[in-house]
């Protein structure tokens, strides 16, 4: 049980609460208490007065007793003394004793006869009622006992004793003293015994019997219990037996006794020698050296007072109780209207406002009831009004709450970031997006300062935003970068002030949308745009290059052929120059080939080529290119390295790589290593139609030159990128283009300062059935018969072809465009052995012509001459596998070979 409940149940508390709760009881109790106190007071006072009165009465009585007893004691002692004196004077004594004395002197002992006689006197005196326990006669000299009622005493000396010494001089009573001789305290009366002539011959001493004193002292007096006793100056009681000697070994002590022994007379209330409360009178009798004590027990003495007290108390309390009952009834009568009012009030307190108190009387209580009713009425009205107001307010609150919930819903579920920051820099509101973005819960954000939630940088920028709005008071839009657990994100934020109803701003609201993705997309788009532009640039470059190359090829073809014709007919001193022309045209054609290769438009004369052969062909040229310091090492496979590729292109590739290797070494000492090998095909990375190959041809060119940096390595295959002072930067680009279009792979490894290695992998091809030696086959001149149709829009080319073919022995028919070519073909179909057809012509293009020709004649040899038009070439080839290709610019031999082959086929 708890402290409180324990105390609640304590009787005192119960009583006080009970009393406190009841008006009637309170009134009754009050009356009871007042009455009771009065009764107690009265009885107390009465008791006290009674006691005092009793005390004085008793004291008076005791004093009377004391006086009388004291007188009695004195008288008795005096009587004994007188008696002794009398006895001392009787003739028997006065006659006999001197004889005893003198007899003693003579015979050294008392005369027994005389002694007997004297003793008899003493005995009879004692028996006669004198209060004496012993009578003794002592000689004046030496105090020797001559005769005594106690025979044993005779012959002893008492010269020392006071009563003897004093008794010699006259009657003397020795006051109460402890007698060694008797073994107890006693009193002794002495008187001298004189011989007839008056001289003192002896002393008569009487030890008094104190029992008589006791009897005197102990006389009963009246009905009151009284104790009277005598105490000597040593605190010993005179009659020891009564006190049972053992207890009084050290004397009796009490206030009365001690006061008396110190010489005072008086009375008082004190504890007697046994600890009993008494009323006592004490007297000191100085001549007797005795204290007389008269005591009466207080219990008995004050009994009447106690009785009085009891009577008064019982009657009084009885009366008070009775009156209390009456008071209770009266109180009830008075209290009942009040109580009824109290009950009504209680009902009101419990909520019943319709109650009305009864107005029972016209006094203050009635007036109270009236006022009470008025109050409840007013209260009722008030409560009704209040209820109405409360209902209205509750409704408004509900609407507000709904609105709030709506807003909260919108805010929370917005895909934007919503936050409200007050001007102390603390978050007041954040939405769910905010929570998830920063991976924190609302509870950990609201109320905290911005710096606690965001990084320092972000907090600072946010703070600036907030203060900007605070100071400017306007809506502001800005782009901010925020670091989140997922990294930095960019937001487009709108910050606006939040105002109270009075227009004062109290916080800043921020709504921000995440534009990170958009920005990223923007950036990506730009990058792609750039890339595309770049690609387009390259493409247009390619187109340009292709166009240039094509036209240039045509021109070159003419130059080349004419040069060759000229060479055949030229006189000696001119031959050198013409050979130079040929060399130059060859080189020019290489260049255009490269360009065309880069542009991807080179026409491909795919044949099975032996890489080793190509390399060997170029060896002389290579060696010529290299400086003397460069060592050339060969690591060639003994087998033929057959690949399916355009031989010219292969040569271009080899030459380019060798040139690059040499240039990498430059002016220093170095080694260029050329290697070919057959390796298992690596499926990864192979493209195009070479994927079925199982082995690759690996062609490597290594140099110990200066090597390349990472950046250089990345860019070497870009067109027009060059590290050389000379050169157009097309070489390796062309190489890459060629390798790719051949279905191979090109890789480069390089260590700056040590050297580089270019590695080309090409799918190997099966060995050709006929190991044709390439372009330098040499058919006999003039041996051919038949007719060849030349269709070309270029008159120069037509002329060249005419001359070459005529020399071969053919009859040549010329057509300047496709339409005419067809007409002539149809016209001369039987005679035509071959057709030389230019693919790129205005009007009907070569492909169309070819088709039409094939419609007419399925197997006439057609030598297609192309500039750069690879696509058309492919189309043509797919149409007609029997077609021969001639790449411009072509040499005479090329033309001758092609025609020969084609014609051969035909034939």
């Amino acid at each position: 049980m708890t402290e409180r409940s324990r105390s609640r149940l304590s009787p005192v508390r119960l009583a006080t609460s009970f009393i406190g709760q009841s008006l009637r009881v309170r009134m009754t109790v009050a009356f009871g208490v007042a009455g009771g106190l009065t009764v107690v007071l009265v009885s107390g006072v009465s008791y006290e007065r009674a006691r005092r009165a009793l005390r004085s009465v008793v004291t008076e009585r005791l004093t009377g007793v004391a006086d009388r007893r004291a007188v009695d004691v004195s008288r008795w002692i005096t009587q004994q003394s007188d008696l002794v004196r009398f006895i001392a004077g009787i003739p028997s004594m006065t006659d006999g004793v001197p004889l005893l004395v003198s007899g003693r002197a003579a015979t050294n002992g008392p005369d027994p006869v005389v002694q007997r006689r004297v003793t008899a006197v003493l005995d009879s005196a004692r028996r006669a009622g004198v209060a004496v326990s012993e009578l003794t006669v002592m000689s004046a000299r030496g105090g020797r006992v001559l005769a005594s009622t106690n025979p044993g005493e005779v012959g002893t000396y008492h010269v020392d004793d006071l009563y003897f010494r004093e008794g010699l001089r006259g009657p003397f009573t020795q006051n109460f003293y402890p007698s060694h001789h008797l073994g107890r305290p006693t009193m002794t009366a002495a008187a001298p015994v004189r011989s007839p002539d008056g001289t003192v011959v002896a002393v008569l001493a009487a030890h008094l019997d104190l029992r008589q004193i006791e009897d005197i002292v102990e006389q009963k007096s009246g009905r009151m219990p009284i104790e009277v006793y005598l105490v000597d100056r040593f605190s010993d009681p005179v009659s020891a037996d009564r006190f049972r000697r053992v207890d009084v070994r050290r004397g009796l002590h009490s206030l009365g006794i001690d006061s008396a022994l110190s010489g005072h007379d008086g009375s008082g209330l004190y504890l007697n020698y046994a600890g009993v409360p008494v009323i006592g009178i004490y007297r000191w009798i100085p001549e007797r050296e005795l204290a007389l004590i008269v005591e009466s027990p207080q219990a008995a003495a004050f009994a009447p007072a106690r009785n009085l007290l009891a009577v008064i108390l019982s009657i009084g309390i009885g009366a008070v109780a009775l009156m209390a009952v009456v008071a209770h009834r009266i109180a009830g009568h008075v209290a009942s209207p009040i109580l009824s009012l109290a009950r009504s009030a209680e009902r009101v307190a419990q909520g019943d406002l319709d109650v009305r108190a009864t107005v029972a009387t016209g006094d203050e209580v009635g007036f109270l009831a009236v006022s009470f009713n008025q109050m409840t009425h007013r209260l009722r009205k008030l409560v009704e009004d209040l209820n109405g107001q409360v209902a209205a307010t509750m409704a408004a609150l509900d609407a507000l709450r709904e609105n709030q919930a709506l807003v909260q819903g919108i805010v929370d579920n917005s895909a934007m970031l919503v936050a409200v920051i007050d001007f102390d820099g603390q978050f007041v509101l954040v939405n769910r997006h905010f929570e998830s973005l920063f991976a924190r819960r609302r509870e950990d954000i609201l109320g905290r300062a911005v710096v606690e939630v965001l990084s320092e940088r972000d907090a600072e920028s946010l703070r600036q935003t907030v203060s900007a709005v605070h100071n400017g008071g306007e809506v502001a839009e800005s782009e901010i970068i925020v670091s989140t657990p997922d990294g930095d994100r960019t937001f487009l934020s709108v910050s606006f002030p939040l105002r109270h109803a009075d227009g004062a701003a109290y916080a800043v609201g921020i709504v921000a949308s995440d534009i990170t993705e958009r920005q990223r997309a923007e950036a990506e788009r730009r990058r792609l745009e750039l890339q595309m532009q770049h690609a387009q640039k390259l493409e247009s470059l390619g187109v340009l290059a292709g166009g240039v190359a094509h036209d240039f090829n045509n021109l070159l073809a003419a130059v080349h052929v004419n040069a060759e014709l000229a060479l055949a007919e030229a006189p000696g001193h001119v031959r050198q120059s013409i050979q130079q022309i040929l060399v130059a045209t060859r080189r020019a054609s290489e260049l255009t080939r490269q360009m065309l290769a880069y542009a991807g438009k080179a026409s491909l004369e795919r044949r099975t080529v032996d890489l080793n052969e190509s390399v060997r062909d170029l060896l002389e040229l290579a060696k010529a290119t290299f400086s003397k310091k460069v060592e050339l090492r060969m690591d060639m496979s003994p087998q033929p390295m057959w690949v399916l590729a355009d031989s010219a292109q292969i040569s271009q590739v080899v030459l380019n790589l060798l040139t690059n290797a040499a240039e990498a070494i430059g002016d220093r000492v170095g080694t260029v290593t050329i290697g070919t090998a057959l390796v298992p095909h690596d499926q990864n990375g192979a493209v195009g139609d070479a994927s079925r190959a199982t082995t690759d041809v690996r062609f490597t060119v290594s140099d110990t030159g200066k090597g390349m940096s990472e950046e250089t390595k990345r860019r070497i295959f870009e067109p027009f990128y060059t590290t050389k002072a000379s050169g157009r930067g097309l070489g390796l680009a062309a190489v890459l283009g060629i390798v790719k279009s051949a279905g191979g792979r090109l890789s480069v490894s390089s260590v700056e300062g040590q050297g580089s290695t270019f590695e080309i992998l090409l799918p190997s091809a099966e060995a050709p059935i006929e190991a044709g030696r390439g372009p330098i086959s040499d058919p006999a001149m003039g041996a051919a018969t038949g007719c060849v149709l030349v269709v070309d829009d270029e008159p120069m080319l037509r002329a060249v072809a005419n001359r070459v073919l005529s020399r071969m022995g053919y009859e040549v028919i010329e057509a300047a465009d496709g339409v005419e070519g067809l007409r002539l073909f149809k016209q001369n179909r039987e005679r035509v052995s071959a057709v030389v057809l230019d693919m790129t012509m205005p009007g009907m293009d070569g492909a169309e012509v070819l088709r039409q020709i094939r419609q007419c004649d399925a197997d006439v040899a057609v030598i297609v001459v192309s500039g750069y038009d690879a696509r058309n070439t492919a189309v043509a080839r797919s149409l007609d596998p029997a077609v021969e290709f001639l790449q411009k610019p072509f040499g005479i031999d090329d033309l001758v070979a092609a025609v020969t082959r084609g014609a051969r086929v035909r034939a």
Partner: protein, 345 residues
């Protein structure tokens, strides 16, 4: 708490008592069960009467509530007071009383002196054997039990040895004229005259005896006061039985003499030394008993010893009379010196 109280007769006894109490208190008092108690000396003098002795004893016991009674010295008074003490169950030590009645049949009363029987014996023996006396005379106070009993004991011993004794009596109310009795005694031509009487009386008697022409050697009892006899030329050569002598060999004796001299400025008498010891013994007995209850203290005293103090060595063996030595001295001029020491039982 009150300490022992004492009823003392004589200045010398008082001086000895006071010194003893002072020393006890200076060393912290008596320890009773670990609690130290101060010793208080309550002094009451009485008139030269037995009944006053017992009265004052009564007063000390009843009014002063003493725990231990020391004294009286003189045997008659001691006998009277002893019955009071015995009845009140208060332990009493009489340093000097030699009369057997003092302790006879009592549980609570003790003495430090040797008994008169011994005294009589040793004097008789010395006179007979050493002095080769054959005739002895005794003059004694018939009213004084001490004097009377001692005379009888001497007589008994001397006659048992083979000597002859004649006695003369007087009563103490005749303090000045002894010649009639002395004449009678002188007529027998004694070799020794034994005077077992109080100091002052003895010197008068000796002078009167010499004046009568007696040449007997005087024999004195322990009631004599040799220091005061140094001015009595007749006393020279007297043999005195004493309870105590300053030449006793024990270190405690000489130590006591020195302290007493230092405190009081004069040499101590026998009563001083014996009273001093009585108080010390009482204090130690209380300490040993561990209580102030009379019966327990009395029991402690009854078994006390051997104790060597200012008054020599005593040993209680269950009664009020201890074992100790007796001393015979001879008076020579200003002082007396020991002639014989006898163990007394």
């Amino acid at each position: 708490m009150d300490g022992p109280g004492a009823s003392i007769s004589g200045q010398s006894s008082l001086a000895g008592a006071r010194l003893a109490v002072e020393e006890l208190n200076a060393s912290g008092g008596i320890a009773v069960r670990g609690v130290r108690h101060h010793v208080r000396l309550i002094e009451r003098g009485y008139e030269n009467r037995s009944d006053d002795a017992s009265s004052q004893a009564r007063a000390l016991i009843n009014l002063d509530s003493v725990d231990v009674l020391i004294g009286p010295q003189l045997s008659p008074h001691a006998v009277a007071a002893s019955s009071v003490a015995e009845e009140a169950h208060v332990p009493m030590i009489s340093p000097m009383s030699s009369n057997p009645a003092t302790t006879q049949g009592k549980r609570f009363v003790f003495r430090l002196a040797y008994l008169d029987a011994v005294q009589g014996e040793i004097l008789a023996r010395y006179a007979f054997k050493r002095m080769e006396a054959r005739r002895a005379a005794v003059l004694f106070d018939v009213a004084n039990p001490y004097s009377r009993d001692l005379a009888a004991l001497f007589r008994k011993s001397f006659e048992a040895l083979g000597g002859r004794v004649v006695t003369g009596e007087f009563t103490s109310d005749e303090l000045v004229e002894f010649r009639p009795a002395l004449r009678r005694l002188a007529a027998t031509r004694p070799d020794v005259l034994f005077l077992p009487n109080m100091a002052l009386v003895d010197s008068v008697q000796m002078r009167q005896a010499r004046s009568l022409g007696m040449t007997a050697t005087f024999l004195g009892s322990d009631a004599w006061d040799p220091p005061s006899l140094s001015v009595v030329p007749e006393a020279t050569g007297a043999i005195v039985a004493r309870q105590w002598h300053e030449e006793m060999p024990q270190a405690e004796v000489s130590g006591f003499i020195a302290r007493y001299r230092a405190r009081w400025g004069e040499a101590p008498r026998a009563t001083a030394a014996m009273t001093y010891d009585a108080i010390r013994i009482a204090a130690m007995a209380v300490g040993r008993a561990g209580t102030l209850d009379g019966a327990s203290v009395a029991m402690a005293i009854a078994r006390f010893g051997p104790f060597t103090g200012a008054g020599g060595t005593v040993r209680f063996t269950g009664t009020g009379d201890p074992e100790r030595n007796a001393v015979l001295t001879v008076i020579r001029g200003r002082s007396d010196s020991i002639v014989e020491v006898v163990a007394a039982r």
